[in-house]
Structures are given as structure tokens and as C-alpha cells.
């Protein structure tokens, strides 16, 4: 027995979580929280004192990527490798972090201070590339800012003591300052802004309410801050820095209140990226919603799932109530007719927002009709799609709405117990949802006899342990039961035989969050939006090579081009719009020529993509489509549960071919071999993951076959595939040394004011030099 290990901690955890076999994941999560990894002695102890068997614990602990079996450094650096981060150079950032920490082998530095890992998606796609160190997220990280990031973390974050802030009690409030506290905003620095606000207001002895609000959707402009003074027009500030706070406060709330609104020219804020340079030149970032880009960004949107976005305090139940919250719930319970609820949903034409687009009312009717005394309801919040963050935003910003929707659904299908399955990688969502559950229990909206009605519902939170396949409902249920997250044959569907063998309703966060609006406004009102077969709105996370990324909610039937150009403001940095990747690893790449494709379930499937969970990543002409296909397949391949032959082996063989194409080792016949494998995997896999995994490959072959052919000849037309290109510096070089300083591997050398050289052997082709060169002297061949 390891003497350092305090085994009593394990006993305490088991005492708190439970001794049944289904508790294995929560127990392991708690154990890992204490020890930072899973020591074998702890696992053996768990087996001694619970119903969990050694085979079960070994199987589960090695299945989920959250669990680690070896000790880690004091701090964990997670470099996001989601789609948006990937296309914005997360790879270079990863190597730069390793380089900075002097890690040559393994993932932990010599002092055991930091462990570095790549993670599938942090869900901060608009801040790409994003890096998380413990609880702190850094956005727009570049190879040249990695060292600042680590320094900042060690100086400011590592030993941060949670502060308490006492607002001034006396006096009349002069107004309200709203700070976005969605994950993107926090990653953009909004927590620091909030602290600066608190300090400043305390110093000025101003009584102003600081109000945390959920996601505004304009993640490309984070951190956002809005000043609301009664009787005056609200002023929205974007990309605010803590250093801007005194000025903003002085402008609005100082004694004589000169009140000058400064509007920055729209062009300039659009072009600016969040960077140290921008920080050094504090500028005022006031926006007006009537400004064209903002109006465009918000104009085409229709907020149903995200109703009152940017206004609601996510943790304020009273405010939610004031803004029509729980009205739908009350009306449902007042009428007390579950069939009527299902009929309303039927009329609305609502289809599940989790990816498959199955008619919601039909699913509900099946659960309702299924025999069984006990029925369950599950919120599938295990959004693991790299490049998508809608579910996270919805759970973070509208926890009461999601739960209200769940209660309505539970009432309609007759479920009395439920679980909110939320990715552990979304700590803020977990926290907010937990708070909301507690508030609602206290208010009598959950528990026994809700609102005096006969219906009862018990809800609890379960943190998903990191397996994309658990988005598949039968795998999700397996993990809830304490097993490896491996899907089972359907039918029987969960509606018939789900959790613990009981009829179970599984819907995702977005689906639940649409329900209150539909109940309040009627099924017909929802059905008026959208297309013939796809009704209502859809929330997308718009990211990638786009000017204005963010969380958007648009009516079904909008075209891809409208999303990219009108809402997103077109492709960034003046590059050419090449394609859009819709639906993540299950979806496909739709070329710019098909930009008139409408966004609805049928049209997307028809072009070979899929609605998926709603990732919408824009690609430009510097993105290589073969590499994109490889990227997505490497994701699904590593997330395959390994159960069925086609997916376990087939995706591996496909990845091998794609990798060899990207490395210039392609052979004649590779395209045909890929197509053959793709058809096998698509046609014969057991679950949705395998059945859709070939989509990104098949669509890229279909629309960009010439790029595949070029790779077989050893060329990468987009100049992206590292093994097929080389970097050099031409005579335009002015010898400014920027590239040499920026290079993560010290491959660039030269005398100042003379032409620099790149050592091809050392060069890792990250492109940092090309990005930073002021005279465009770095050439890719």
C-alpha cells in the first residue's frame, strides 16, 4: 500500500456517493479530484468496500478520457484541439507549450509543475485557439504569447484566492453594469473585468449593480460589458479590458457624469483581434446595436432557445420568473393534460436538436405509451462535438429554462426521475445547473407534488467523463449504469427499455430549452418558422475563419451563405470562402458553390452533411480539405468505443490512408480504397458514431476530389500539409527579426536588417513566421 495515500479519503467519498455499481463514475471523479489521478490502491479500496468489481473499475477507468492512471503535474494545461482551434493553429500552440516547458518526452515537465494534454473541445470556439490551465481559460493564444500566458497563470491565477465582494448597501443604485459570464466571456477575461468593476465602484463609493448575464452570443467580441442606466439608452462595450474600467465607470457614473458616448469606427473593431498589442492600446469599445455589423449579426436571428440572451442573469431565478419563466410549466400543470402537451409539440413539428432530428412528439408518445411504473428523463448535455458549444451555452445561460423544459417533458411522458448528463469539461454549466436545481427544489418546482400537482420529479446531475460516443443515447445510458460507454443494438430504443431497463426519454439541452416558448406561444407559432419539414429555429456555434463568430439562433431554412456573409460578416482577413463544415465529425464539408443550400435537416443530409449538433465552422482557401477529412476522422477514430468491427478497425484503416495522403505517401487507388472503407463503415456500424463517421471523408472526396488527387501526386494545393510543404524567406525580408523571435523551434536565423533563413530540418511548419511577417516575405512551397 502506498504510504502517501490517505485511504480514508476513499472511504469518505464512497460514503458520500454510494456503494452501488452504478456509482463508479462519480466515485472515480471524486477520487481523481483528490489525488489528481487514480492511484491503484484507491481503486482496489473502492472494490473492497463497494459492489464495484475489479473488472468493472478497470474497464471504466480506462474507457473515459477524463480519468488518468498516472500522476500528473501540479497544473494541467489543456490545449483545445476542437475544429475551430485546429484551423486556427492549435497544433503550433501545443508544440510551443511543450517547447516552452522544455518537455521532450511524455507530457509532464521536469519539475512536475505542468502536465500538457490536447483536449477534444473546450467549447470556446470563437476564442480559438484556446488553452485552459486548471480553471483558467486563455483565448486567442499564439505561439508568441504562450510564454506570457504561462507567466500570467503563475503570477495571477495559480494561487488565486476566491474573493468575496461586499456591495455597498446604502444609497440608491445609479444603474446596472452587465457583464457576460458565459465561458467564452470568462475566457476572454470577463471575470477580471468584474473584479475591476467591483474595485472601482468600491473606490468611488458608487452604488451600481453589477449583474452577471449569460451568453450574449457575440463571442467574437468578448469580453462584453453593458451599462444600463434607468431612462437612458443602454451602452454595450465589446472587447473590454480591465484597464478600461475606470474610464468607463467615470464616464457613466462619476459625480458630474460628463457622459460622452464614444463610438469607435466599426471597421477598426472588426479588424482588431484580442491580443497583447490591443491591450497596450486601450481603446474604447462602445458599440451601438444600431451599428451595422451588430444589427446584421443580431438582425437575422430569432431567439427562442436563447430568449433574453445577454439580459438574463443565469443564476437569478426571480429574474427568469419575471421574464415569462415557469409560465409554460404552470399552464401545463394547470391544464393537467399530458396528451395535450404532446399534441402541442406535435403541432409545433419540433424535431430533436441532438443531431438525428427525430420528431420529438413521436419519441414522447413512445415513452408515454411504454409500459412501466418507473420512467426516466435524461438531458443529454454530453456535447462532445469539436467545434460546437450550443449546449454548453444554453446550460450555462438558461439553466432554469432547460429544467423547466425537462419538467414539462417529464410530465408529458410520465417520468418521475431524471438526470442531467453534463460534460465534466463544462464546469460552469455543471455549477449553474446544480444551482438552478437547488433553487427550483426550494421553490417547490421539483420534488414531490410539483406546484401542488400530483406529479413528482426528482432530478440530479451526472458529469460525463469524456467520451464522445456517450452522446449516443444507449452509450450514455450504459455510462449512467456504471459501464463502459458502449452502445447497444437499437431497438429496443431507450423509449422502451432505457436506464435500468425502464422507459427513458432522452433529449438534448436545446430541445428542452425550446419547450417553454412553444407551450407559451402555441405549436402553430413555432411551426410558422422554418421549412416544410424542419420547423422553428436552430442554434449554431458559428466559428472558424469568420469575422463574427458566436452563438446564433436562426430560423430553419436560412441559407449557408446568409449565415456566413450576413450574420458572420464573411470570411476573416479577406480570404476566400471555401467551405463550411456543418455537423462536426458526423457532418460534412459543404463547398462555397453550394452556399445556397438551406439549413434544415433534409437539405443538409441531401448534400452529404448533417445537422449534427450544430457546429458551423467556416473554412477559407488556406484550409486543406484532405487535412480536414483527416482531422475529423482522427477525432472519430480516437472516440470510437471499439465495440463493432467496422468502426473499430474500419476508421483506423481510413485514418491510415488519410494520414499517408497528408504526408505525401499517397498511392494510386487510395481514393477508391477510402470510398470502399467509408461505405463499409457507414453501412455496417452499430451506432450513429460509426454510421456517420465517414461523412466528412465522403463529402470532401465528393466536392474536392482534385485535392485528393493532388495529394497522391505529393502536392497540397492549400499549402497546409506539413510534409508536403516547405517554408522559406524571400528577398523581401527586411530583417525585422520578428519571425525568429516567434519561431517555436528556433529554426529561423539571420542578422538584423538582412534576409533571414529557415532551417528546413528544424522547421515544424507551424506557420507562425508567415502570420507575423510584416512584409509577406515567408513563402510556402
Amino acid at each position: 500500500m502506498n504510504s502517501d495515500l490517505d485511504i480514508l479519503e476513499v472511504d469518505r467519498i464512497v460514503g458520500e456517493v454510494g456503494r452501488d455499481a452504478a456509482s463508479v463514475i462519480p466515485i472515480l471523479q471524486a477520487v481523481q479530484k483528490v489525488y489528481k489521478y487514480l492511484p491503484e490502491d484507491a481503486l482496489r479500496r473502492i472494490c473492497e468496500i463497494t459492489d464495484i468489481t475489479p473488472a468493472q473499475i478497470e474497464g471504466v477507468a480506462s474507457f473515459f478520457s477524463q480519468f488518468r492512471r498516472t500522476p500528473v503535474g501540479h497544473h494541467m494545461i489543456s490545449v483545445c484541439d476542437g475544429t475551430a482551434c485546429h484551423v486556427k493553429g492549435s497544433d503550433a500552440v501545443y508544440y510551443s507549450v511543450l517547447n516552452q516547458l522544455g518537455i521532450r518526452e511524455g507530457d509532464t515537465d521536469a519539475d512536475g509543475l505542468f502536465t500538457v494534454q490536447k483536449v477534444a473541445c473546450l467549447g470556446c470556439c470563437t476564442l480559438a485557439p484556446a488553452v485552459q490551465i486548471d480553471e483558467t481559460t486563455y483565448g486567442h493564444v499564439r505561439t508568441d504569447t504562450v510564454s506570457d500566458m504561462i507567466t500570467d497563470f503563475l503570477e495571477n491565477e495559480a494561487n488565486r484566492v476566491p474573493r468575496t465582494f461586499q456591495s455597498l448597501e446604502e444609497g440608491e443604485s445609479l444603474g446596472e453594469v452587465r457583464v457576460g459570464l458565459g465561458s467564452c466571456c470568462v475566457a476572454g477575461g470577463s471575470a477580471k473585468i468584474k473584479e475591476a468593476l467591483e474595485d472601482e465602484l468600491a473606490a468611488l463609493k458608487c452604488k451600481v449593480d453589477i449583474k452577471p448575464v449569460g451568453c450574449v452570443g457575440m463571442c467574437h467580441r468578448t469580453p462584453l460589458l453593458e451599462v444600463v442606466i434607468p431612462g437612458e439608452e443602454p451602452v454595450l462595450y465589446a472587447k473590454v479590458d480591465a484597464g478600461d474600467i475606470p474610464e468607463i465607470i467615470e464616464r457613466h457614473f462619476s459625480a458630474n457624469r460628463p457622459f460622452i458616448k464614444v463610438r469607435t469606427a466599426t471597421e477598426s473593431w472588426l479588424k482588431k483581434l484580442y491580443s497583447p498589442e490591443a491591450r497596450n492600446v486601450p481603446e474604447r469599445h462602445a458599440l451601438n446595436v444600431r451599428d451595422e455589423p451588430v444589427a446584421d449579426f443580431l438582425g437575422r436571428q430569432q431567439h427562442i432557445a436563447t430568449e433574453h440572451g445577454g439580459v438574463l442573469n443565469p443564476s437569478d431565478m426571480e429574474e427568469y420568473k419575471r421574464r415569462d419563466g415557469f409560465k409554460a410549466l404552470k399552464s401545463v400543470f394547470f391544464k393537467n393534460d399530458p396528451e395535450l402537451v404532446i399534441a402541442t409539440i406535435e403541432k409545433s413539428g419540433l424535431r430533436g436538436r441532438g443531431g438525428g432530428g427525430f420528431p420529438t412528439a413521436r419519441k414522447w408518445a413512445a415513452v408515454r405509451a411504454a409500459p412501466g411504473d418507473k420512467k426516466y428523463i435524461i438531458l443529454n448535455g454530453d456535447e462532445g462535438d469539436p467545434g460546437a458549444f450550443m449546449d454548453r451555452m444554453i446550460m450555462e445561460s438558461y439553466p432554469y429554462r432547460v429544467i423547466e423544459g425537462m419538467i414539462i417533458a417529464a410530465f408529458a411522458v410520465g417520468a418521475t426521475e431524471g438526470i442531467l448528463y453534463v460534460r465534466a469539461e463544462y464546469p460552469l454549466a455543471v455549477k449553474r445547473v446544480r444551482m438552478a436545481l437547488r433553487d427550483m427544489e426550494q421553490a417547490g418546482m421539483l420534488g414531490e407534488h410539483i406546484l401542488g400537482n400530483g406529479h413528482s420529479l426528482k432530478l440530479r446531475v451526472f458529469e460525463g467523463a469524456g467520451a464522445f460516443v456517450c452522446g449516443e443515447e444507449s452509450a450514455l445510458i450504459a455510462s449512467l449504469e456504471g459501464r463502459r460507454g458502449m452502445p447497444t443494438m437499437r431497438p429496443p430504443f431507450p423509449a422502451e427499455k432505457g436506464l435500468n431497463g425502464c422507459p427513458t426519454l432522452v433529449n438534448n439541452a436545446e430541445t428542452y430549452s425550446l419547450l417553454p416558448w412553444i407551450i407559451r406561444n402555441g405549436g402553430e407559432a413555432f411551426a410558422q418558422l422554418g421549412t416544410a419539414h424542419s420547423k422553428g429555429t436552430k442554434v449554431f456555434s458559428l466559428a472558424g475563419k469568420i469575422e463574427r463568430g458566436g452563438l446564433i439562433e436562426v430560423p430553419m431554412g436560412i441559407t449557408i451563405r446568409e449565415v456566413v456573409e450576413e450574420i458572420g460578416g464573411g470570411v476573416s482577413k479577406g480570404r476566400k470562402f471555401k467551405a463550411v463544415q456543418v455537423g462536426g465529425p458526423s457532418g460534412g464539408c459543404i463547398p462555397a458553390e453550394l452556399g445556397d443550400t438551406t439549413v434544415d435537416f433534409e437539405a443538409l443530409t441531401e448534400v452529404g452533411a448533417m445537422m449534427g449538433s450544430g457546429g458551423f465552422v467556416v473554412l477559407d482557401d488556406t484550409d486543406c480539405m484532405v487535412e480536414m477529412a483527416r482531422y475529423f476522422l482522427s477525432f472519430t477514430q480516437s472516440e470510437s468505443c471499439g465495440k463493432c468491427t467496422p468502426c473499430r478497425v474500419g476508421t483506423k484503416r481510413m485514418l491510415e490512408i488519410l494520414t499517408r495522403l497528408c504526408e505525401g505517401n499517397g498511392r494510386d487507388g487510395d481514393i477508391a480504397a477510402l470510398e470502399k472503407l467509408a461505405t463499409t463503415v457507414k453501412g455496417q456500424s452499430l451506432c450513429g458514431l460509426g454510421k456517420t463517421a465517414p461523412n466528412p471523408v465522403l463529402t470532401t472526396i465528393k466536392y474536392f476530389r482534385d485535392e485528393f488527387e493532388a495529394h497522391i501526386k505529393g502536392q497540397c494545393p492549400a499549402g497546409k500539409c506539413k510534409k508536403l510543404i516547405s517554408f522559406s524567406i524571400n528577398d523581401d525580408c527586411i530583417g525585422c527579426t520578428k519571425c525568429a523571435v516567434d519561431c517555436p523551434v528556433e529554426a529561423i536565423s539571420g542578422e538584423p536588417y538582412s534576409v533571414f533563413e529557415i532551417d528546413s530540418e528544424k522547421c515544424v511548419r507551424c506557420g507562425a513566421c508567415k502570420d507575423i511577417c510584416p512584409v509577406d516575405a515567408v513563402v510556402i512551397k
Binding site: 491503484e40 482496489r44 474507457f63 470510437s640 483506423k652
Partner: protein, 473 residues
């Protein structure tokens, strides 16, 4: 009681029956690797796919439940090709030889590794029987054979190949008494030509249970083998006598009356240097060969062809069986296989035992019962259809225990995991990791033996491949 059609035949079964069980009810066997009656379906290998004609989808028969009005096709081209794809994928990650290279290159396909295991364990009778059974003239071959098997031996990568030729000669010499317990099929066959090919052919047919008569115009059996300078005549005579004692009728030294012979027998094998111009009726041909062991192989092959023709049952001959191939081993793999050479007490062991103990046992322990091999053969699978960039490593787990686990042969069906659970093993087995890197493992890195205290036999039996096998088999 839902009614459905399977391959056009109406079936009525209880609600909740699987398509696989419904098909079995009407005598249709659907292939599966991951499914066993005593376990809940895993639905992992996907070999059991059948087509649901109503939806056009391929569904796994082991877990798909029947439904009223279903129309299932278990044999259409789409299903056949889907099954072939599955097998090709499984074989693309299969690290293992169906046959050891020595056996593979031996034209007579002597089961060398098994014979060596018997010698090593001192089972002289069993070893002698294997040599005799497979070679017909194991002692004579011990004098004349150029031993291609030794050139195939993987032990040469380490030091020197096994002395296989000596081994089968010594084994056969050490145990001469007869063990002749063959079935009686009640069918008569004639073999014309008493050279090595003819002798081998008649011996194989004799083992299969035929009433055999061997004809030759020459007064002595043995053909060209008699001219071999290295082979003492008395050695050959003794071996021929041995065959006679086994129940073969020898008719030598008379002119052959072919019409007469043909009329009196159910089947005939011609064994000669050149193929007769016409072969009548159920006659097969075994070519005599300057390489005696090749002639022996030809004789066996012709015997099996005749048997197939007479019995109407397909007889897979070794050379035609599906054969997964690893190819050249890496040095690290040779060292891994060396784990199979259990370092035991050398005291009290005979020289042949010590020599046999050098065998790396690189053969598969389940060449006959392996379901993957069986279906690969049945569906014409091709191991190179989906080639891997790099083949997996040979790995042996539990090498010094009674059961050996070879991860490279595991198809991740999970049957053994279920069996250990059912048997109430304290540790049992589990899957470790995820996706392509999933492996079968013992929790907490304990030994295989500690995981299989109660269920070793059952696990080895249920394992559809050679991944779990008894070391000594």
C-alpha cells in the same frame, strides 16, 4: 407469435426471438463470432448481418428481434459481401499464423509444433502417432528428406533451426507398436502404384476408414525410394510392413487389369510419375515426385480428393485452407516467442526432449476450431484487402501458465469477459482502453492465471479464435 419470412421460408416464433434463433429454427446457420448461446448478445463482430428486405438495411441477426411481417435474406450478395468486408477488416488486424511456417512449407503438412510439444512432454506414443499419421513413412523420410521444414523454422532467427527431421524419425522409431482404431465406412478403394505417393494415399484412406487395396506391377512396394542410397532397404521394408499391419491389402507383382479393378471398387487413386492419359470414373491422380516428401503430400491430397468425392462432404485440404500469415518476424517478436520455450529442469530429460524444448511454438493452437479461419475460408476473405500501415506486434501473455493469451488474435468479442463474470471470478477479465486500442486485460495487471481460477477451460472453449488457448494443445 410474429410470423416472418427468412429466405422466402415462413417462420413463426415467440415474441422477442432474435433473427439468428429464428433462422436456426429452420436449419439456417448464420455465421457469428461474438455470439454464444449462453451469453447476452454483444453485437460487436457484425458478421451475422442479414438483410431486412422491407427496409433495405443490414441488421445484426444475433440481437435484432423478429417482427411481424419481416422479410429477411441471409444469403444475398449484399450480405455475402458485407460479411467478407467484416472478415477482411478483422484479418487486417490479425497477428498470427494459422499454420506454423515449418508445417506450411512441409509438402506433407506434418503437424510439427504439436509433435514437438508431445516429444517435449515425453508423450512418445502421441508424438509417434502424429509423425506416422502425417508422413506415412516417417522413419524413411528421416533418412532421405532434405527437410524444407527446417528452412522455414523461425528458431533460425535466434540460433539454429530445430532438427525436425531427426525428431520425427526418432519419434517414430521410439514407438513402433500399432494403434489402429479407424472407422469403417464400408467402402472399397483401390490405389494403383506403390511408390511413396501411393503408399501415402493408401495410408490416408485407410485412416479415413476405407477398405484399401494397393496394386503395383512391381514385386516390392516403395517405388523410387528403393533406389535411394541413403536409405537402408530394411528400414523401408519395416515401414511398409507396418502399413500392411494397419490393414492395407497389398497386391503386388502382377500385371494390372484396370477394367477389372475399376469395376470392383468405389474409387481409385492412380499414383505414378506421369498422369495416365485417361482417368476413369471416380479416379484421382497422385504424382510421384523426386522429392519424396512432396510425393507423400501429393498422395495425401489425392486421398482427400477421393474422400470428398465419395462422401459428398467438402474436405478442406491443408494447402487449400485459409492461412493467415504474419510474415517475417521482428527481432523483438522472436524474443517474445521465446517465452514459449519454458525453461524447465533439463536434468532427467532425453536429448530429443531437450531439442524439442527449443521450439518457439509459433503455430496457432486452434487451427481446426478457429471460427475466424473457418469463416474466412467460407467467405473467401482476403487478409490484404484492407492492408494495415504496420502490422501489430506478436505478444504473449500468461506464457508460463496453462493458458496463453495472444492479443494479436483477439477480435474483442468479449465472450471470455462474460464467462469470467458468470463464473464469479474474483478478478476476471475486462476490456481496457477504448477504440482501436482496446485490449483484453486482467484488472490491476494481475496474472492471467489469477483471473481464470475457475473458468480457464470455458474461456478457451468459447474464444472464437486462437487468442485464448491452452499452452500444451
Amino acid at each position: 407469435m410474429p410470423k416472418l419470412l427468412i429466405n422466402g421460408l415462413a417462420v413463426e416464433v415467440n415474441d422477442g426471438t432474435t433473427v439468428l434463433d429464428a433462422a436456426e429454427k429452420i436449419g439456417l446457420e448464420i455465421p457469428t463470432l461474438c455470439h454464444a448461446k449462453e451469453c447476452e448478445p454483444e453485437t460487436s463482430c457484425m458478421l451475422c448481418v442479414v438483410k431486412n428486405n422491407k427496409t433495405g438495411q443490414l441488421i445484426p441477426a444475433c440481437s435484432a428481434k423478429v417482427a411481424e411481417g419481416m422479410e429477411i435474406d441471409t444469403e444475398c450478395d449484399e450480405v455475402q459481401s458485407a460479411r467478407q468486408d467484416i472478415l477482411n477488416l478483422l484479418l487486417s488486424e490479425h497477428v498470427g499464423d494459422c499454420e506454423a511456417p515449418c508445417t506450411r512449407v512441409c509438402p506433407a503438412h506434418l503437424d510439427i509444433p504439436l509433435m514437438l510439444r508431445e516429444i517435449e512432454q515425453g508423450n512418445d506414443e502421441a508424438a509417434a502417432w502424429i509423425a506416422r499419421r502425417d508422413l506415412a513413412l516417417p522413419i524413411s523420410l528421416g533418412y532421405v528428406c532434405p527437410a524444407p521444414c527446417e528452412k522455414g523454422c523461425r528458431r533460425k532467427e535466434m540460433d539454429a533451426p530445430l532438427k525436425i527431421k531427426n525428431a520425427h524419425r526418432q519419434a517414430a522409431e521410439s514407438f513402433q507398436s500399432l494403434k489402429a482404431d479407424f472407422p469403417n465406412l464400408g467402402k472399397k478403394v483401390a490405389i494403383i502404384g506403390a511408390g511413396p505417393a501411393g503408399l501415402s494415399s493408401v495410408w490416408k484412406l485407410c485412416q479415413l476408414g476405407y477398405d484399401c487395396t494397393l496394386y503395383d506391377e512391381a514385386p516390392l512396394a516403395g517405388g523410387d525410394l528403393r533406389k535411394h542410397a541413403d536409405l537402408p532397404a530394411e528400414v523401408l521394408d519395416a515401414e511398409i510392413e507396418w502399413l500392411e499391419r494397419a490393414g492395407i491389402t497389398f497386391k503386388l507383382g502382377n500385371p494390372l487389369l484396370l477394367q477389372e479393378i475399376a469395376g470392383g471398387y468405389d474409387g481409385v487413386v492412380f499414383a505414378s510419375k506421369e498422369k495416365p492419359v485417361t482417368l476413369f470414373g471416380d479416379a484421382f491422380y497422385a504424382q510421384e515426385h523426386v522429392l519424396t516428401v512432396k510425393a507423400i503430400g501429393n498422395g495425401k491430397e489425392a486421398a482427400l480428393q477421393l474422400d470428398e468425392s465419395l462422401s459428398g462432404e467438402p474436405v478442406p485440404t491443408i494447402g487449400k485452407r485459409f492461412d493467415s500469415k504474419v510474415g517475417r518476424l521482428r527481432q523483438s517478436e522472436v524474443r517474445e516467442l521465446e517465452k514459449n520455450c519454458v525453461a524447465g529442469e533439463s536434468a532427467g530429460k532425453s536429448a530429443p526432449q531437450l531439442e524439442a524444448a527449443r521450439c518457439l511454438h509459433c503455430d496457432c493452437r486452434k487451427p481446426v476450431t478457429c471460427k475466424l479461419r473457418k469463416y474466412a475460408e467460407q467467405y473467401g476473405a482476403d487478409q490484404k484487402a484492407f492492408p494495415a500501415d504496420e502490422r501489430g506486434h506478436i505478444q504473449l501473455i500468461g506464457h508460463n501458465e496453462s493458458v496463453v493469451f495472444e492479443p494479436g488474435k483477439c477480435i474483442k468479442c468479449g465472450l471470455c469477459i462474460k464467462i469470467t463474470k458468470q463464473a464469479g471470478e474474483e478478478l476476471g477479465l475486462t476490456f481496457q482502453g477504448r477504440g482501436f486500442n482496446t485490449t483484453l486485460a486482467v484488472p490491476f495487471d494481475e496474472t492471467l492465471a489469477s483471473a481464470l481460477k475457475k473458468s480457464a477451460q470455458a474461456c478457451v472453449e468459447i474464444c472464437p479464435t486462437g487468442a485464448l488457448a491452452f499452452r500444451s494443445e
